[in-house]
């Protein structure tokens, strides 16, 4: 009888072991981005080909390039 109790107790313990809840995120910080850092677009060299021109690391020149490129979406400027 005691052996049966022991077996039942062991089975119950084994069954309950699946109920444990482990953290899925190792270091959880509320409301803070936790991923890898990203480089900024203007920190890249312009492509060797194509007409995009800016100075690497200079945000103003990259913005100027983006604004110029944006005007290609304005058909009033493209076709007089």
């Amino acid at each position: 009888m005691s052996r049966l109790k022991l077996v039942v107790a062991c089975m119950a313990l084994f069954g309950l072991s699946a109920c444990g809840e482990s953290d899925q995120v190792l270091t959880y910080k509320q409301g803070k981005y936790q991923g890898k850092t990203d480089t900024r677009a203007y920190e890249n060299e312009p492509l060797a080909y194509g007409d995009a021109k800016w100075t690497k690391g200079d945000r103003a020149s990259w913005e100027s390039q983006i604004r110029t490129r944006n005007q290609a979406q304005n058909e009033y400027r493209r076709a007089p």
């Binding site: 981005y33 990203d38 995009a52 021109k53 800016w54 490129r69 979406q73």
Partner: protein
Amino acid sequence: MARMKFLCDAERCIECNGCVTACKQEHDVPWGVNRRRVVTINDGVPGERSISVACMHCSDAPCMAVCPVDCFYKTEDGVVLHDKDLCIGCGYCFYACPFGAPQFPQAGAFGLRGKMDKCTFCAGGPEKDRSEEEFRKYGRNRLSEGKLPACAEMCSTKALLGGDGDVVADIYRERVLKRGKGAEVWGWGTAYGLPGGGQKPAATGAKS
């Protein structure tokens, strides 16, 4: 610089799905995932309108607020991006997004969801810019090449505008003044806030 924004002109969209195709092709987006799609309202009846919808890169992005693992971040240009290495595919962002932008590829049997995928404003992700890994996870990084989103640049009628918010607004303003109608911009109030510092304008029946 202002922040990056999308604007879809419902007066011009002809539901050609060129933007959808451009996005799919540019980023090699897998089957079943649509980062951008065209929605038609009142299809087949007079007054039918179509709009191209994707992540609008909201000013106060609800997806960022609800993510339980905080995998979202916002770039200096206002582009909302996420780290797929952190994403657990819970789907909270999908429920929170007013535009239905987050997409989930099927990752296994029984409808198992994979990591979230969405429009990146062609700005890639946190992996090394223009690297093979970045392309595989997030698609091409056109901003780092001095270009703008492929969908907007490919739009044949220029209904979809994308880029610097100020420039985009100027282009649209000039267009509206020339044609004298269709000043309503779909989704801008929801994504970028209402004019007048969040004060809700009086109901006029116009689109937000």
